[in-house]
């Protein structure tokens, strides 16, 4: 489903059915907006509170405040001093970008074959790909560990890029296939008559039309890779090869009971802010991507 179709069929039922200006109508409207406000507060408050906490110096951290009274950036500075957090961010960026590039390339070529060419075994392939997307990561953990050791990639970022394919690739192929199938078939017929090769058709006919779907799947793959924890925890060993989720998870203070909450909150805000900006900028695309695979069923 594209976001255009989503917009077109939205029922747009008006909020209040009471007569305008009537007491009951006003009460209902106020009630409705209180409900909306509660939903927004529920969704946003924990992250907001993390921001407020990250801006407090050590002692103030242990007092509950709902608004930032101090604008103290010490936590943001010290998070880069205690551990190689800058390197961790760079690692995450490298891994997530490579995962997006690789899964989009493999996804587009595969989706072209699955969506535009009728061949035997296509249905079975699609079901297999969907089945892989349901694999529990732990179910392949020891086999993957052995594979990575055998390839000599243990404690290398490329181990993460390769292993992340297990969850980004099925999803990418699935969404791109759904999208490609809906493009009119006249598109390529002219190109075929002109004698264009399949590769030319993909590159010249489909790619220009696929941008919305590529952006959506690329974003989702990026977020998935950026957030991944289990493989990153298992396949990297040293602080310098870690990605941010692992970096944040292993942050600890002098003892287990003295966690550096200021630093942890600052680090949390740093890694989440780019995602929040992406979400705000591309929310329509993300929603249409999330629902593309699932709602079709």
């Amino acid at each position: 489903m594209t976001d255009e179709s989503l917009r077109a069929v939205s029922p747009d039922i008006p909020v209040s059915s009471g007569a305008p200006g009537s007491l009951a109508g006003t009460a209902r409207r106020v009630g409705f907006f209180l409900l909306v406000a509660a939903i927004v507060l529920y969704a946003v408050f924990p992250f907001y509170y993390a921001i407020v906490s990250s801006l407090k110096p050590g002692s103030a951290l242990f007092r509950v405040d709902y608004f930032p009274f101090t604008w103290y950036f010490g936590n943001y500075a010290s998070v880069f001093r205690g551990q190689p957090f800058g390197t961790n961010i760079l690692n995450s960026l490298i891994v997530a970008t490579s995962v997006v590039a690789l899964s989009l390339f493999l996804g587009v070529t595969a989706a072209f074959a699955l969506a535009r060419i009728q061949f035997r075994g296509r249905g079975a392939l699609l079901v297999t790909i969907l089945a892989v997307s349901m694999f529990p990561q732990v179910a392949v953990l020891s086999g993957m560990f052995q594979l990575i050791r055998a390839l000599g990639l243990y404690n290398h970022l490329s181990a993460l890029v390769i292993s992340y394919m297990i969850f980004t690739l099925p999803f990418t192929v699935w969404v791109l296939t759904t999208f490609m199938r809906e493009l009119p078939k006249e598109l390529e017929e002219a190109a075929i008559l002109d004698g264009a090769s399949a590769w030319t058709i993909v590159r010249r006919v489909f790619m220009p039309l696929m941008w919305p779907a590529l952006v959506t799947t690329g974003l989702l793959a990026f977020i998935a890779a950026w957030n991944e924890f289990l493989f990153a925890l298992t396949f990297t060993l040293t602080n310098d090869e870690r990605t941010v989720p692992v970096g944040i998870a292993v942050m600890s203070g002098a003892s287990a009971h003295e966690l550096p909450w200021g630093n942890i909150m600052a680090a949390s805000v740093i890694v989440t802010l780019p995602l929040v900006i992406l979400v705000l900028a591309f929310q329509r695309r993300i929603v249409s991507g999330l629902t593309a695979g699932a709602v079709k069923g």
């Binding site: 029922p11 409705f32 060419i117 529990p136 179910a139 399949a198 977020i223 629902t291």
Partner: protein, 311 residues
């Protein structure tokens, strides 16, 4: 989609297209075989050996001993380990609780967002934030909110006189699972809400108009019209969530650590594999987990009669 080439002259074209189809699929299939097929088969194979994680090459075939074996009048193996059964119970409890709460709450939010009101797009973006936050980060933020001494939750509960003494949300063994469920519900309800919202927005408008003209009570409209119509999409969302919940790892691991009281199947498996270095035994756990999730998927698909994929 059926796509037939019309003339016989072009049958060579069809053959060449089939060939190029496999050519185009090859890179993706190779990678998928490498990162999914091989590791899965290898894990299942390792489950029948006594491999050590540090020396994977030195191993011997021991049959089903990792799963269950009898020695000197006692039972050993995964299936005889009470900690494993504890993790199964925890995971099932987690799955049932989170999926049902998230479905009900998500449906409520979806119904609200299905109305048109100014700023709806912004609200939709706002509820995407918990979904986008890395699991690790949300576990950390909630660890802070639920902190027993300085956490906001205890502060609020105490000032409202709901509790007298601070509650040790992430330390009290009886509360660990509650805290974990709370955090997961916060993180994943928006995802459910958006999936249900998308389904609601695809419903034909006429159904509502007809029902409204009839003067049917809105609650009746919900049960008679809305729910049956979104049921297929709702079931798909519930199945996806349930499968996801059965393999839960991040939230629990970061919020409570590898604690027996809140251990999930995934945490148990990873602990055996990489903390106790028992590759064989851990692989047996992974294999069990794989078949439990596969079985649950099939049961859910059959029970709800949802068809995934097409053709």
């Amino acid at each position: 989609m059926t796509r037939k080439l019309q003339t016989r002259d072009t049958s060579w074209l069809a053959a060449s297209r089939t060939r190029s189809a496999w050519l185009f699929l090859a890179p993706m299939l190779v990678i998928l075989a490498l990162v999914a097929g091989w590791p899965l088969l290898r894990t299942i194979w390792l489950a029948f050996t006594d491999a050590n994680t540090l020396q994977l090459e030195q191993r011997k075939w021991i049959g089903f001993d990792n799963f269950l074996n009898h020695q000197d009048g006692r039972w050993y193996g995964v299936l005889a380990d009470p900690v494993w059964w504890r993790s199964v119970k925890n995971t099932l409890w987690f799955t049932v609780c989170t999926v049902s709460i998230e479905t009900v709450l998500g449906f409520g939010i979806a119904l609200v967002l299905n109305r048109s009101f100014p700023g709806r797009g912004l609200v939709r973006a706002a509820i995407l934030i918990p979904w986008a936050i890395p699991c690790v980060v949300s576990a950390r933020i909630w660890g802070w909110l639920l902190n027993d001494q300085f956490g906001l939750i205890n502060h609020v509960l105490q000032s409202l006189h709901i509790v007298e003494h601070p509650v040790a949300w992430t330390a009290d063994p009886r509360l660990l699972m509650t805290s974990v469920v709370l955090v997961d519900v916060w993180k994943t309800t928006p995802f459910m809400a958006l999936l249900i919202l998308a389904a609601l927005q695809m419903l034909p408008k006429e159904c509502y108009e007809a029902a409204l003209l009839d003067g049917t009570h809105p609650i009746k409209v919900f049960w008679r019209v809305t729910l049956p119509l979104v049921r297929p999409a709702l079931m798909v969302a519930v199945i996806f969530r349930a499968i996801d919940a059965l393999r839960v790892f991040d939230v629990i691991y970061v919020l409570t650590g590898a604690n027996e009281q809140s251990m999930s199947m995934s945490i148990y498996a990873r602990q055996q594999l990489f903390e106790f270095n028992q590759a064989g035994y851990g692989s047996a756990v992974s294999t069990l987990l794989f078949f439990i999730v596969a079985l649950a998927t099939i049961v859910l698909l059959v029970a709800t009669r949802v068809r995934l994929g097409e053709d």
